[in-house]
């Protein structure tokens, strides 16, 4: 197998995972479990296709995807932070709704229950003939944006005042509220950031595939959450875990049809996640207030 092609495939697969996982760390560090990521990515992928189809311009598709990501994340934020509804069920509900919504729109707009027509995608900025595959992946605008955003996210989380406060909101919201800071505002912002990153991830999937197909995220949102946990709720850690997960998926695809049971490799990311959650890869702890709605009147404020 060609090493360069394998690296290119790894990158291509890892980028949407990494974007979604990095975004999820902002939601969860603020104290909100975001299983809705699957629905966020799915809606965004469809929005990209609708935008690109209507305009012929991938940038319009990207804008639509970001808006769809924000809107879906906004719904999750409203239910979980605004109404203090249960976070995991809200995520499951949004994912069910998004699966139905995207199917409904697909049929209504394109008259097909399986896929959209072909739309434009983002072209690589440069095409290297010497690096087949790899060059076009590495110089794709969305990959470049991702490569810039991931360190930026790491800085935002651990180097900025915003990040410090967001993390405090996920650990001890009462203390943040006592300082007079808006806990609800930080939590909502964290969820919305994950919506933007999820939107970017959905746009990348649709742009790469040049179309929308029913259920095309195929569990990637859940895997992104898993990677974020393996990466211990940090943007760099999450991105690194996604690179490993992506490599496993690339290897599995490469081994398909070779007679080797590729399913054994396919399950590696899931098994690694279960080991990580169980503490076999070193102890790590989720944000202390993760999953707990913040109710100021009940915390004596």
């Amino acid at each position: 197998m060609d090493v360069l092609l394998f690296v290119a495939a790894t990158f291509r697969i890892s980028v949407p995972y990494a974007l979604a996982a990095v975004g999820a760390s902002f939601s969860e560090r603020g104290g909100v479990v975001n299983i809705a990521l699957e629905g966020i990515m799915l809606n965004s992928a469809l929005a990209y296709v609708l935008g690109a189809y209507a305009s012929g311009n991938p940038a319009v598709g990207l804008g639509a995807a970001l808006l769809a990501g924000l809107a879906t994340a906004g719904l999750h934020a409203w239910i979980t932070v605004g109404l203090r509804g249960e976070q995991i069920t809200s995520g499951i509900g949004i994912n069910l709704l998004s699966a139905g919504l995207t199917r409904y729109v697909l049929v209504s707009v394109f008259g097909s229950s399986s896929n959209s027509p072909r739309v434009v995608g983002f072209d690589p900025l440069v095409s290297f003939d010497t690096l087949p595959g790899l060059g076009s992946v590495l110089t794709s605008p969305l990959v470049l944006v991702g490569l810039v955003l991931i360190p930026a996210a790491q800085w935002l989380m651990f180097g900025s005042v915003f990040g410090l406060r967001l993390r405090s909101v996920g650990e001890r919201p009462e203390a943040v509220a006592a300082l007079g800071l808006p806990v609800v505002g930080y939590r909502v912002t964290g969820v919305l950031i994950s919506g933007l990153f999820g939107g970017l991830a959905g746009a990348w999937l649709a742009s790469e595939q040049h179309s929308f197909t029913d259920g095309m995220t195929n569990g990637r949102g859940y895997v992104a959450i898993a990677a974020m946990i393996v990466g211990r709720w940090s943007p760099f850690g999450a991105a690194l875990a996604c690179l490993v997960f992506g490599a496993a998926e690339a290897l599995q695809i490469a081994l398909q049809g070779s007679g080797f049971p590729s399913e054994l490799i396919q399950v590696l990311p899931y098994v690694v996640t279960m080991l990580a959650v169980s503490g076999f890869l070193g102890r790590s702890f989720p944000p202390r207030a993760l999953g707990t709605p913040f109710a100021p009147e009940r915390s004596g404020q």
Partner: protein
């Protein structure tokens, strides 16, 4: 009276979701009342329609009961989909292997295989929770994916050539269609698995409310610290809760595999495990509520096929998600208002 009040939230959620659906139907250029009337008459107006609804509701009763049992024990089982899949696979493989066995051997063996495989799939996150404190939400999600991969892997050896299905199960393992007793249901796939599902609901109700173990499961769910102080082993109780939850979801595979197609087919679950979460929530984690909610979601599933041609059938997929979301949002909003 208390029971009536408990209905208020779910009914409000259903009403609001149907209201939203009416708007969508209007946008699609149809009369919402006509479409809803069509749904109702096709689902409940003919014996065939009722049979279809019962068939769709059957796996939802099983997965809904499984998720509800876990909820009562304070555990979140998002893995019902995977448990349903491995349960169906085990039933199919057992049914194909037991060629020539009499029903009183083959049928219990296949049901035990389904329940056992589901229980194993539930026990894994249960034991990881008990032993290592690993949160079951992520582990049950991961095991869904492992279950899908397991099916593909076993399928390499067990599927019929050029298909994604196993060999036919032996005649003794077949759950009879309900039209054997109710000829009016003729042609609908409703089968004896429904009776098993209703029995399971009764058993779960008695188990939770009238047995020592059921009491312990509820105690751990309500207040784990207090339960531990009272001498209940919370780790073992949690592991057992998830195993039982998985067994119920796994039994759901019997409806399709033993009662309908008479073989296991990749993708047969069609999201019934995920929908079980909605069924449990809308059913307030009570066995009777789960049965009613399963009938409602089953009717929605079938009515998609009925309205197709006038409104895209995908409308009902949206409604299912909306009902769940609103069922979460309404009580949360009411609780907020009351402070």
């Amino acid at each position: 009276m208390k029971r009536l009040v408990a209905l208020e939230g779910p009914l409000a959620a259903i009403a609001i979701a149907l209201g939203a659906g009416a708007v969508l139907i209007g946008i699609a250029g149809e009369n919402p009342l006509e479409i809803y009337a069509l749904m109702a008459t096709e689902c409940f107006g003919t014996p065939y329609g009722i049979g279809q609804v019962l068939f769709k509701a059957t796996p939802l009763i099983f997965t809904g009961l499984g998720v509800a049992l876990a909820f009562r024990g304070g555990l979140f089982n998002i893995g019902a989909e995977g448990q349903l899949v491995v349960g169906g696979l085990a039933a199919g493989l057992a049914g194909a292997a037991l060629t020539g066995q009499a029903p009183f051997v083959a049928l219990p063996a296949c049901l035990a295989a389904a329940a056992g495989a589901g229980a194993l799939w539930g026990a894994i996150p249960g034991m990881l929770r008990a032993r290592f404190g690993a949160h079951e939400v992520i582990n049950t999600i991961m095991l869904n994916f492992v279950a899908f991969a397991l099916v593909a892997w076993i399928g390499r050896y067990a599927f019929e050539p050029a298909t994604v299905r196993t060999a036919e199960i032996t005649a003794g393992a077949v759950l009879p269609r309900l039209d054997v007793w109710f000829p009016a249901l003729a042609g609908s796939p409703a089968n004896f698995a429904l009776v098993l599902a209703l029995l399971a609901a009764i058993v779960v109700g008695i188990f939770l409310d009238h047995t020592r173990l059921g009491y312990e499961i509820r105690a751990v769910g309500l207040n784990a610290a207090a339960a531990e102080f009272a001498g209940i082993g919370i780790g073992a109780t949690r592991a057992l809760t998830l195993a039982l939850s998985g067994a119920l979801a796994g039994l759901g595979g019997a409806n399709f595999v033993l009662g309908y197609k008479h073989f296991f087919e990749q993708g047969f679950s069609a999201g019934a495990g995920f929908l079980g979460i909605a069924v449990a929530l809308v059913g307030r984690n009570q066995p009777l509520g789960v049965v009613l909610a399963a009938l409602f979601f089953g009717a929605l599933s079938y009515s998609g096929l009925v309205i197709h041609g006038r409104v895209p059938k995908e409308l009902v997929d949206m409604l299912q998600g909306l009902v769940l979301l609103i069922a979460i949002a309404v009580p949360a909003a009411l609780a907020r208002r009351r402070g």
